[in-house]
């Protein structure tokens, strides 16, 4: 039947060539796909840890490094709990893809993994309506006394905790001591934003405008949440009626505009400092200081090794003395699917892995985060371990600052409308104000209008 059709030799030849290529590729990939040994780049995306006869679970992640942490904790758990063995298959997806997949799974009610890391910004998406996650209150209870509760509240709804937090994410100030000393500025004397601005002026004079004191973000809200925490305000004080026309925001943005005008600061390349361009900016010594969460430390060690020994960590400046000096930024909450076969066991394990002192130690060591369990903070063996890469990297010990601001870490809650607020600010408002010099009050009014539209 097909004899006539295949008559032309060229057709056959070309498909043969492609077939050959396919065989070659398949052949190569079969021999190399089991080989992750020499991979110093990316780990294989799927890792299964734990004994075959353990309770089987699926977990989705969006950061490779987290998988290392969970694997470590899983091994410890299995060792300590021979009667509650667990085997977890970890799959790491890119950030956006993972959340997309999770959203789709939840929407369709099928294929939801037993465990998943959900980034704090995405968390409210899953809290709307019927929550698919297990309520974790009873699992968190044993450790609660030692935890920074604002972090638990971050993943809370109607009195139920749905996500196990990973870290406190306290915002601190990173100072490039090498630059500052060179131009005669003592960062320890900077207590208020006025001090900061004055230091910036001095820096600009002395360096002839070559070095900026800091950079301001057009693609991230960390500066904004920090200032709200300082004033004790929140744009989602009433989650149903968000209000972005706040004094704190007004003052911060006006101040930033002033910096840009007088050449003390530049707009962060890449939109915010946690991007490839941001790292380049820091590594080049282009900015002398910037506020960011503690977890930014691992960016230093990973992407800016040449800056070792140059940076110090200190509490952030405030507008008025007595204001809170920090804010919890970023975060990942681990969720447990409530209809999962081994939901309770999963919750028990996850709470233990992340909220105990032991877990906290690993969170610090492996991930470079400030753990939620504050007992770790006062454990000098852990915090001042000279072998720890972060202790080695920074001029002073990060926990010195953390302990200083321990009770000042506020948290601006992430609620459904937060996505819209972030979108409005990151896409429009910040660009208008910082790139185009728009009037701050007006820009905030415009932002409010857009937020209102969403909330009507």
């Amino acid at each position: 039947m097909g004899a006539n059709f295949m008559r032309l030799p060229k057709n056959v030849f070309s498909y043969f060539v492609i077939l050959l290529m396919a065989i070659l590729v398949v052949g190569c990939s079969n021999s190399s796909s089991g080989n992750g040994e020499n991979a110093e780049e990316v780990e294989s995306e799927v890792t299964t840890v734990g004994p075959e006869d353990g309770a089987k679970m699926d977990m989705w992640l969006f950061v490779d490094l987290h998988q290392k942490f969970y694997s470590e904790m899983l091994n410890k758990w299995n060792e300590a709990n021979p009667d509650k063995q667990i085997q977890i298959k970890f799959t790491v997806y890119p950030y956006a893809d993972m959340h997309t997949k999770l959203t789709l799974a939840v929407q369709s009610g099928e294929g939801i993994p037993d465990l998943a890391d959900v980034e704090i910004g995405q968390f409210p998406n899953y809290l709307d309506g019927e929550v698919p996650w297990l309520a974790l209150n009873s699992y968190v209870e044993p450790y609660k006394a030692d935890l920074v509760t604002s972090r638990l509240d971050a993943y809370e709804k109607d009195g139920n905790y749905y996500g196990v937090p990973t870290h406190v994410g306290a915002t601190v100030m990173y100072y490039n001591t090498e630059i500052l000393e060179k131009y005669g500025i003592d960062y320890t004397q900077i207590k208020t934003w006025d001090d900061f601005t004055a230091a910036g002026e001095k820096l600009k004079e002395a360096s002839n405008g070559e070095v900026y004191m800091t950079s301001v973000d057009t693609g991230g809200a960390d500066w904004l949440t920090l200032t709200m925490s300082e004033y004790g305000e929140s744009w989602v004080e009433d989650p149903e009626n968000a209000n972005v026309k706040l004094d704190s925001l007004n003052n911060m943005l006006t101040m930033q505009q002033g910096w840009l005008e007088s050449g003390i600061a530049e707009v962060t390349p890449g939109g915010q400092i946690d991007t490839e361009q941001g790292y380049a900016t820091v590594a080049k010594g282009e900015v002398a200081a910037f506020p960011k969460a503690i977890w930014y430390m691992s960016r230093f060690t990973d992407y800016m090794p040449e800056m070792s020994g140059k940076f110090a960590i200190a509490p952030a400046p405030v507008f008025e003395e007595g204001q809170k000096r920090s804010n919890g930024a970023g975060g990942t909450g681990t969720v447990v699917y409530k209809d999962s076969e081994n939901a309770e066991l999963a919750a028990e394990f996850m709470a233990w892995a992340k909220l105990t002192e032991e877990g906290g130690e690993q969170i610090w060591n492996i991930l470079g985060f400030d753990p939620v369990n504050t007992k770790v903070w006062t454990n000098q063996d852990i915090t001042h371990n000279q072998e720890n890469e972060y202790v080695k990297y920074f001029v002073n010990n990060p926990f010195d600052t953390l302990l200083e601001i321990q009770d000042e870490v506020n948290l601006i809650k992430t609620v459904p409308i937060t996505t819209t607020i972030n979108e409005v600010f990151n896409l429009t408002t910040l660009n208008e104000v910082l790139e185009n010099g728009a009037d701050v009050k007006q820009a905030l009014e415009d932002a409010q209008a857009e937020v209102d539209f969403e909330q009507e």
């Binding site: 019927e130 057009t218 208008e432």
Partner: protein, 299 residues
């Protein structure tokens, strides 16, 4: 059994058998999802609940400023792609036909290449060509002319330029080929007699080529309208995500994706999708009807 076989093989029934796969596919993979989408657009949908709200989503769309931005971007993009990607390929096809051309096969092969590349790759290439760093290709060109580096992907104008350049790069070859195909169906005799009559190349082009290229033009325009209005991935890849500064790169489908997948707001996203569908269909229908597409019968 033989009777069934005779039935199925009869000239009357055979066509239905031939087109059966289409019917099946249509029902499963098109009619049902279409119905589902339309249905969803009248609801407010969240985790485990779906409440009927009538036309509320559509009313909201009317006042949605971000949606307006998306529509504006998509429409302007489409208009520009029509302006660029119809005349230029037509010209290319015509010139390629000319005898003066040396190495026609090579030219054609090369300008067709970009179409073979996936959007991911194309987007990456253009994203970094338009990098705001001084060493990015586009900025190097600017510097060559003594101009300052630009932050290409931060402003609407330059961003749109990047998108259009990407589109031009990608689709010129394809459209040229379509037009070439159309050109080849024009009888040489017409040109011959025109030359004998003393018509210049330009006149031949205007009075013979253009009109006879009409079916091709219609086809290319129609698919371009659709492709332009539904553009999403190109913008997504060039800006690195669905979130461009001030939404300069947001398209209608981009907004659909943002609402439906990123924000889990299915009802509203479905409404966006339907509006797009209606707009695209209307424009295409108007265009096709006005150019007499449906009047002709098969030859």
């Amino acid at each position: 059994m033989k009777k069934i076989q005779a039935f199925l093989f009869s000239q009357k029934i055979a066509p239905y058998v031939f087109i059966l796969p289409f019917i099946v596919s249509l029902s499963f993979f098109w009619i049902y999802p279409m119905y589902s989408t339309i249905n969803m657009s009248f609801h407010n949908i969240g985790n485990g609940y779906s409440e009927y709200i009538g036309l509320a989503n559509y009313e909201k769309l009317l006042g949605d400023k971000v949606f307006h931005i998306a529509v504006r971007n998509s429409v302007i993009y489409t208009i520009f792609t029509l302006i660029i990607l119809i005349p230029i390929p037509m010209l290319c096809a015509f010139l390629l036909n000319s005898k003066s051309v040396v190495g026609k096969r090579i030219y054609k092969s090369i300008i067709y290449l970009p179409a073979l590349v996936s959007v991911v790759v194309a987007g990456i290439l253009f994203r970094y060509m338009f990098s705001e760093m001084d060493s990015g290709l586009m900025n190097q060109i600017l510097q060559f002319f003594g101009l300052e580096s630009k932050q290409w992907l931060k402003n609407w104008g330059t961003g749109m330029f990047a998108l259009l350049l990407l589109a031009t790069w990608r689709w010129t070859g394809v459209n040229t080929l379509y037009f070439e195909a159309g050109l080849s169906s024009i009888d040489e005799v017409l040109y011959e007699s025109a030359k004998v009559d003393g018509a210049s190349a330009w006149q031949r082009f205007w009075h013979i080529t253009l009109p006879l290229l009409k079916p091709t033009r219609i086809y290319v325009t129609t698919i371009s309208i659709y492709a332009g209005l539904a553009m999403f991935l190109e913008s997504f890849m060039i800006y690195g995500s669905n979130n461009s500064p001030k939404n300069i790169g947001l398209t209608i489908v981009g907004y659909l994706y943002r609402r439906g997948i990123e924000k889990n707001d299915l009802g509203y996203a479905s409404a966006v999708g339907l509006v797009l569908l209606i707009v695209a269909l209307s424009i295409s229908m108007v265009y096709l009807l006005s150019s007499g597409m449906f009047k002709k019968e098969d030859k």
